[in-house]
Every structure is written in C-alpha cells, then in structure tokens.
C-alpha cells in the first residue's frame, strides 16, 4: 500500500535531474552572479565546473544520459569571448554534430541543451535554466537511454 502511494506521489511531483557543464570563466561566474543577485532559478541543475566548453568530450554528454540524468545542459562563453581564444568555437562544431546525431538515434530534441552565458549575464543564466528545466520536465524521465543494469 505504502509503495503504491509513494510511487504515485513520485510520479506527480517528479522533478528532473539535470547535469550542467559550465565553463569556469563565463557561465560558472554567471551562475555565481545569479546567486549573488538573488535571482531565483530551479534547483534541478547540478553543476560541474569545466575549464572551458572545449574541454567537453561529446562522450561526457552521452555518458550522462546513460548514467540516468534526465537532461544535460552545456554552457560556455559567447563566441569570441573564450578565455582560450577558440575553445568554444571548436566545441560548437562538436555540439552541432552531436546534437544532430542524437536526434538521428531517436533521442528527443531537448534532452541535451547548449547555451552561451557570460559572467555578467546572471539574469540570462537563470532564464535559460528555467527554460531547460521546463523542456526536460515536459519530456519526462529519461527511460530510453538509461542503463538498466
């Protein structure tokens, strides 16, 4: 009996878990600014700080889905603002291919999201995190790609 209730309750107020890869120089500072400015954004994201969005191997993103994360968010500096000059431009090409390939394999568009946010854009960061959470919530739990055993 108890199990049934908890299962139902779980389904109704299911909250997605989203892993967010933020670049150290822009987006991480942006998230920090959002926090310092007391801008509210959903607590669904768990942040992983990376040196640059170019550090991200597309494999990390696929592996996150296999490990059972409901959504992935990747954020870096705006094109042209990269601390390492071209890290985000190289990353953008990789993400473009990954994005198309995931869709080709039948992963719903919106599971994996990419964005740019600078250190001064706390507001924009909060808005986009809210948007991502909404998208992933609509898609539901990641049952497809999650490793079952």
């Amino acid at each position: 009996m108890n199990e049934v209730i908890t299962e139902k309750a779980q389904k109704e107020d299911w909250e997605p878990k989203i892993i967010a890869f933020l670049c150290n120089w822009c987006s991480y500072a942006g998230a920090d600014l959002a926090g310092v400015s007391r801008i509210q954004y959903p607590s669904n994201i768990r942040i992983v700080r990376v040196p640059c969005s170019g550090r991200l191997n597309p494999f990390f993103i696929i592996r996150s889905l296999v490990d059972g994360w409901d959504g992935v968010l990747v954020s870096g500096c705006h094109p042209g603002d990269c601390h390492y000059i071209s890290g985000n431009l190289v990353a953008r090409r990789r993400f473009a291919i990954l994005n198309d390939l995931l869709e080709f394999f039948g992963i719903e568009p919106g599971r994996v999201n990419f964005m740019w946010a600078s250190a001064a854009e706390g507001e924009r960061f909060a808005v986009l995190v809210r948007k991502t959470t909404e998208i992933v919530k609509k898609l539901g739990p990641n049952e497809k790609f999650k490793k079952q055993w």
Partner: protein, 340 residues
Amino acid sequence: MVDIKNENQKIEEKMRNVARDLLKEKKVDLIIGYSEGTLPLASAPVFIRDEQEVNKLVWNNSCYVNLAKYLIPNIRENINGEFVDLKVGIISKGCVARSIIHLLVEHQINKENIIIIGINCNGILDRRRIEKDIGAHEITETEVSGDYLIVKGNKFEKKFKFEDYMNELCKHCKIRAPPISDSLKDNIVGECQEVDSLEDPFEDIIDFEKKSADEKWAFMNEVLKDCTRCYACREACPLCYCNLCFVDQNLPTWFGKTSEISDILIFHMVRGLHLAGRCVECGACSSVCPMGIDLSLINRKINQIVKDRFDFVSGLSLEKLSPMMTYKMNDKQEFMLEEN
C-alpha cells in the same frame, strides 16, 4: 549486358602491368594489393616485393578490405640497424585513394613514400547479404559469368544478379577511380578521374528521418542489438588509427563492457562522432562485421551533417582542412538555447 568477368580480367591485367613496371624500375619497394582469399567471397591483402610475384595480384568483386589501413604506422625496414621508410605502391580503388588523401590531410603518412596505383573499381559484392540468402549452407566455390554470380556448395547452386547484390554504397558510388588533383599528380599512376565536388542527395537518410523519435530509437535498437562489440569495424577502418582507442582504456573506464543496449549504442555513437568529416564510405566496416550489421546508415548520416553544416566531403582534395580540425566564427548555431 555487362560482362563482369571480362571487366575484372581487364582491371587485373592493367593492375599487374603497372605493378610490374613500378617494381622493375625500382620506383617502389613494395606493392600492397589484393590476392585470392582463403575462403570464397573473400580476398586477402598481399605484400609483393618481387616482380615475379606480381601474378598473385587479383581483382575480383570481393576486394572489400580498405588497403589504406596498412599504411599506418609508416611501413619501415631495418637496414643496417637504421629504420628506413619504404616506398609503397598501393592498389587503390576510389575509396582507398580517398582514405589515403584524407590520411595525408591529417599528416599521418608521408606523400613522398606513396604511389597510388589507380584502378577503375566495378563494385564490391555485399557478401553478408549473399550469405544470409543462402542460409545455413557452406559455400565452396564462386564463379562469375556474364552479370551473374554463381555460388556453389554441397548439393546446391544459386545465381545472384550482380547489380542487385552489389554493396549499397557501391551502387551510388561516383568516385570509382582515384580522384586526381595538381598536388597529387606525381603520386598517381594508372586510372584516375577528376573530381571537383561530390553531390549526394542522401535520399536514404532523408527517408529515415521521416520516422518519429520512438520509431528511430526502436529501429536503431533492432539493428544494433546483435553487435558483440568485437571492434572489427574499428580495426578495418583506415581512419581509426589512434594508438589507444577510447574503448580499450580502463583508467578511467569510459564505458561498460556489458551487452546491454545502451553500452552498444554509446560505442556506435562515439565511433560515428570520431569519424565526423573523415569517413569516405568505403564500406569496409560493414563488410567485416561478423554479425552482418550495416553501419553505413550511421556513417552516411555523419557525412550528411558535415556536408550540410560545413560543406565538406572527405578525401577529395589535399588543401581543404577537415572540419573538426578548424572552426569559423560564423558557424550555424540554430540549436543553441535563446531567451525568446
């Protein structure tokens, strides 16, 4: 009617003559080519140093191996305690030559040491499909007559129309002989063709993409669930030349070794990503797959993405950089999240 047997003989004769001349004039130390395989519907690579052995070279429609694989790492010989790079002549159909050109773009081989012996490929048979159609019988002999392939075994004989049983990739192939350009003039002997650009409508991919996300997912699961991850596809691919592949690393272990579908899919996705802007669609990976999985769908999708986004076709010119080696300030970024 096309006489395949006749065509094959002509190709074989030309190939042997060129190889013999090259060895006689000492322009090359070694010729890499195809020889008769130990099994029917298969061929084996052969390394020839002596002009008397040139008759070992054959051309039949089972030469599915991409010989460019043997160029990496550089072919060397120990002469008086010193390693010297050998000059290599390599029998090349269109796709082998394209692999070589792409390896040159990625600085993996030395242009001075390679001589491409071009042949005009007339298509490779899809041996997995033939084996599937024959079922649980052993094939002992194959023979070509006219445009038919006759497969013989114990108490059975079956005819296959060559055109229908050609590899899907070969059916639409437009680059059958090595693509030549000014910078490669001195490296190509034999057949060659001039190719400026390659137009591919990617009809099969567009057709596939009409399916819904769930249908695509189900299809991919169905196709790839047989994969045992023997990595034969990686071994056969001339562009998979990493010293240590990500699947072999175990500190950290990048991904699980189980036969669960997500472990299989993750391998094929990342393999596809690694071939972005590099795959030349030779079909070697599908031909060597012991489970008969057709990987060309994934490879072609990757090529379509690269063509659409970065306007690049691999293995055509020495001057153009591979898209993953470079970037542009104004690359398309329509997939990025925006506030409105």
